[in-house]
């Protein structure tokens, strides 16, 4: 059974159809890439998936459960975590607190326990702290745990954002243009990291403009244009598809 299954997901803004009946599936332990020219509706589609927009039509099933129209915080709790195209780390607080906030919905500490069972509450917080430290170690940000997020380099902030998303133990991780603004060396590191996550059992959806990156990491690629799904296939199939090349590069004059 696919972990994520969308059926004819549509999002309209007034007369504009930003996402037009997109159906796709994501299987466990797979990296699915979504590509498409600017304005193809990739981010709108992801926003509809993660509850930032309410879909105008269609259905979204996650692990067999209908999550269509759930608010964003509930979807996060179901196990979908995401990053943003334009970095959204919490700039004025420490790296550590950023990631702790990412773990928010997995810290089982009801409000009344703070006062009625303070020891248990403290223990739960300590466990979360230990988990987050381990995660930071894993991505190489442990030494900077006390730095303010805004003082990190751009690449580190990108890593931090992924780390924050991972802190919620997601079943599905969605990366929205993780390479934006990265140089090629940083991109290679990121590609390795994403593949390593997959090898550890993580399921990932990546939206990306950068062809090299997407071809390198994806198991399967979905091409979107004008809000609709246009093609789906393995990286090799997509690379050799003349129609896809047309969409990206414009039509070639014959003769």
């Amino acid at each position: 059974m696919p972990i994520l299954d969308t059926k004819d997901v549509t999002k309209q803004f007034g007369g504009l159809v930003a996402v037009n009946q997109v159906s796709m599936t994501v299987n466990k332990n797979e990296i699915v890439g979504i590509i498409g020219p600017n304005g193809a509706g990739k981010t709108s589609f992801i926003n509809a998936l993660t509850g930032i927009y309410k879909p105008s039509g269609g259905q979204i099933f996650f692990q067999g459960k209908d999550i269509t129209g759930f608010p964003a915080y509930k979807i996060a709790k179901q196990g979908i975590a995401r990053t943003f195209q334009n970095l959204r780390v919490f700039s004025n607080i420490s790296v550590l607190e950023n990631v702790l906030i990412g773990a928010h919905c997995r810290i089982d500490n009801p409000f009344h326990h703070i006062f009625l069972r303070p020891l248990r509450s403290k223990k739960i917080e300590r466990q979360a702290y230990a988990k987050v430290i381990a995660l930071l170690k894993n991505v190489g940000l442990e030494e900077k745990k006390e730095s303010l997020a805004k003082n990190l380099s751009y690449g580190e902030q990108r890593t931090l954002e992924i780390c924050r998303a991972l802190a919620s133990d997601p079943e599905l991780l969605i990366l929205d243009e993780p390479c934006a603004g990265m140089n090629s060396a940083e991109m290679d590191t990121l590609a390795d990291f994403v593949k390593k996550l997959r090898d550890e059992g993580q399921t990932i959806v990546v939206i990306e403009h950068n062809m090299c990156f997407i071809m390198a990491v994806s198991d399967r690629i979905i091409v979107m244009t004008e809000g609709a799904k246009f093609r789906e296939g393995t990286p090799a199939e997509i690379r050799n598809d003349l129609e896809v090349q047309k969409v990206y590069l414009g039509e070639q004059e014959v003769e």
Binding site: Y73, A76, A81, N92, I101, H104, I114, R164
Partner: protein, 312 residues
Amino acid sequence: MMMGSGKRKWLLLGGLTICLLLVPMLVTDIYILSILNMMIIYSILCLGLNLILGFTGLLSLGHAAFYGIGAYTTAILMTRYNFGFGSAFFASAVLALLVGIIIAIPTRKVRGDYFCLITLAFGEIFRLVATAWIEFTRGAMGIVRIPMPKIFGIPIATETDFYYLGLGILIFTYLTIKAITDTRYGRAFIAIREDELAADTMGINTAIYKIMAFSIGCLFAGMAGSFLAVYQTVVTPSNFRLEESCLMIIMVIVGGMGRNLLAPLAGVVVMTVATEVFRSVADYRMLIIGLIMILVLLLRPQGIFGSSSFKS
């Protein structure tokens, strides 16, 4: 931070508490004690406001109204319904909390500036009701002769007694807010301040958390108000004007918003001392206070003890 140098910090806090407990033995001047008591009241208010403004990033211009709700509740219950201080205090806190929730529910989705206007309007409505509803609040004459409070049969009569009572409430406020903000709840408030959309996608139900932060802040304002009522023995609407709300905001900003819970208290001390010192030049007092604020904001935008500046 939450872990690490914890022991030293508690030692420091313990020392500070002992010093504060010893103050009335060294200071016998009634005038100075009365200033200290006002500082305590503002400290309670600012600790609560910091939760709303410093943590959650909601600029509430109506904090004085919740202070007023607490004061009037205690005043009315004690003068007309023979309530003891304990139960009146409790009722004041609960009522401020409830009204806080009622105000926070419809405003949970409004953005910054509109939230600010709604709380401003609420503050004014409260003050106008307190002034105009003469049968209930006795209008501008205020409610007078609020009886002397008793705690477990011990009468609270002198400035020193009130100092200890206030200090007790202040320490309780600090410990409660500290306990809350050291957990995922405090972090959720900060996440909302930093980026509400991102907070939402982290699984934080931002609406509930905003209501929570706002109403808890109001709860402590209600406690401060209740204390003010028995301390002054008089409450009038002029105690709860917009200027009071602004003064509290200034105190929090000058002292420093956010994680360092004690930072706003520095603002309380500076602003209270400034108000007293420049009392003789009454006409220029606000001018001088404004200057102090501008200076602090220019030299230390994060506040005297603030850890990081916001929105740089």
